[in-house]
């Protein structure tokens, strides 16, 4: 379970997160929805201990990320890009990641198989396409077989087949009882994948609940989203 509790983060003179609070539960896909620049990535970076909040706590099963022993066996995270050095092969990248958390070597080939990169395992990460990079990032996230998955815009740059593959993959993980938190700015995609939805806008959570609760009387999630966010398409 993921608990974000009153997280406030200031960068320079701008407050980019205002007391952000929500939870993501095991066995469910929680969609973290918001326009670009709303604070989705910032929240996830605080959750992963990459950035520090000025106030509040972000916990995974009651613990701060930095307090986790062998964190990759508890949380798998997918952020921007592959997360690999461009000169390294996919397999070499996954090997050092596995070593760092005491994960058996055999898992490397298993996760390469899961994401469909077995044939490209000897290629350098810098030569990967966008879709392949995402798959490599996902493979690294799966190495420790973690009960919690955190993904930032996982379908960005994927082709339709890749999007469907990712959706099925995430639904299956939640079906196994794992906690899945993913951010997105794609309404339609999220409406197909998420059980619960949290909407963030300009650094504040504007609403959260089950998909049905958040959609409410609006015809679609997109309408509900536009009704609740400041952007409202006015700029167009």
């Amino acid at each position: 379970m993921i608990t974000i509790d009153g997280v406030t983060r200031v960068r320079g003179r701008t407050t980019i997160l205002h007391e952000v609070s929500f939870t993501a539960l095991p066995g469910r896909v929680t969609g973290f929805l918001g326009p670009n620049g709303a604070g989705k990535t910032s929240t996830l970076r605080v959750l992963l201990g990459l950035d520090r909040p000025q106030a509040g706590r972000a916990l995974i099963d009651g613990q701060r990320y930095a307090g986790l022993d062998r964190p990759l066996t508890v949380v798998g995270a997918l952020l921007d890009g592959s997360g690999a050095h461009r000169a390294r092969t996919a397999r070499a990248h996954l090997r050092w990641v596995a070593t760092s958390n005491g994960i058996p070597r055999g898992r490397v080939d298993e996760v390469l198989e899961v994401v469909g990169l077995t044939a490209d395992a000897g290629k350098r990460a810098g030569r990967f396409s966008l879709g392949m990079s995402r798959r490599l990032g996902l493979a690294a996230a799966m190495l420790g077989d973690p009960p919690v998955l955190i993904l930032d815009e996982p379908v960005n740059g994927l082709d339709p087949a890749g999007i469907r593959w990712m959706r099925t993959f995430l639904r299956e993980r939640a079906g196994q009882g794992r906690t899945v938190l993913l951010s997105s700015h794609l309404m339609g995609e999220l409406a197909e994948t998420a059980d619960d939805v949290v909407i963030i806008d300009q650094g504040r959570v504007v609403t959260s609940g089950t998909l049905a609760e958040v959609v409410g009387d609006h015809p679609t999630l997109e309408d509900a989203f536009l009704a609740r966010t400041a952007s409202k398409g006015a700029a167009w």
């Binding site: 890009g81 997360g83 050092w96 070593t99 760092s100 990460a125």
Partner: protein, 249 residues
């Protein structure tokens, strides 16, 4: 911690740039010992060579370029962009996700760099000293093992110095420019010793006193030089780790 060190060794040895450093460090000193053998022989025969016991150790100074490169890439590789598609993505995100305790991470990297440089330095020192003995024979006194060990320690400390500076600057280019220009083109530190003898205690030049007798105009005992150099490295590494812990990833 063993897992972290193992992972950092794996990371370093998986980088082409690190191998450039390793190979450069291995061949530069023995090559220089061979190439300069003729000139050195003449200098000794004419009696203008300075301390003859320094002769065998002199070439070891150039090989530390390899140690510098290893220290630098241990950090700079973390900040290299992953690819054209995601210019903001860097290996550092993966590293911190896998090893979120930052002081431990800095420690594990320091151990990995030290181990590699020590192995590289030991091989290079033995090869260079053996070559010098072969080429110059009785012209130079036999090399003392203690001085060879001090030379290897000097390499390790310089590798760690480069590592600490790159942590502070977050840029390999700045570190390499400062250290290489300063050690080969114009040594600002050396020029400063003309102004004040205290400048001989600056981190990039004090270490040479650990294994050479004739360095500049100032005499510093090997043990003193080693302690001063270690203090510099410890202080800069401490500052680098502190900044790394406070900064955004």
């Amino acid at each position: 911690m063993v897992n972290l060190i193992h992972a950092e060794l794996r990371k370093l040895l998986g980088l082409p740039t690190a191998w450039v450093g390793l190979v450069l460090g291995l061949i530069a000193a023995p090559a220089l010992a061979l190439l300069s053998a003729g000139a050195t022989r003449q200098a000794i025969e004419r009696g203008i060579a300075g301390d003859p016991s320094d002769t065998a150790f002199q070439p070891l100074g150039i090989g530390l370029l390899g140690a510098l490169i290893l220290g630098v890439v241990a950090v700079s590789s973390e900040y290299t962009s992953s690819g054209e598609d995601a210019p903001g993505a860097r290996q550092m995100t993966t590293t911190l996700a896998a090893m979120p305790r930052r002081y431990r991470l800095v420690g594990a990297k320091a151990v990995a760099v030290s181990l590699l440089v020590a192995v590289q330095g030991a091989i290079t020192a033995v090869a260079t000293l053996a070559l010098t003995e072969m080429v110059l024979g009785p012209l130079v006194p036999p090399a003392e093992p203690g001085r060879a060990a001090a030379a290897v320690l000097y390499w390790v400390l310089l590798g760690l110095l480069a590592y600490a500076l790159t942590l502070i600057f977050r840029s390999g280019v700045i570190t390499l420019t400062v250290l290489i220009v300063n050690s080969s083109v114009v040594s600002v530190s050396y020029l400063l010793t003309k102004v004040t003898p205290l400048a001989a205690y600056l981190p990039d030049i004090v270490g040479a006193h650990m294994f050479l007798n004739d360095v500049g105009d100032v005499d510093i005992a090997p043990l003193t030089a080693g302690l001063v150099m270690t203090a510099w490295v410890a202080a800069l590494l401490g500052l680098g780790a502190w900044l790394f812990d406070r900064r955004e990833a």
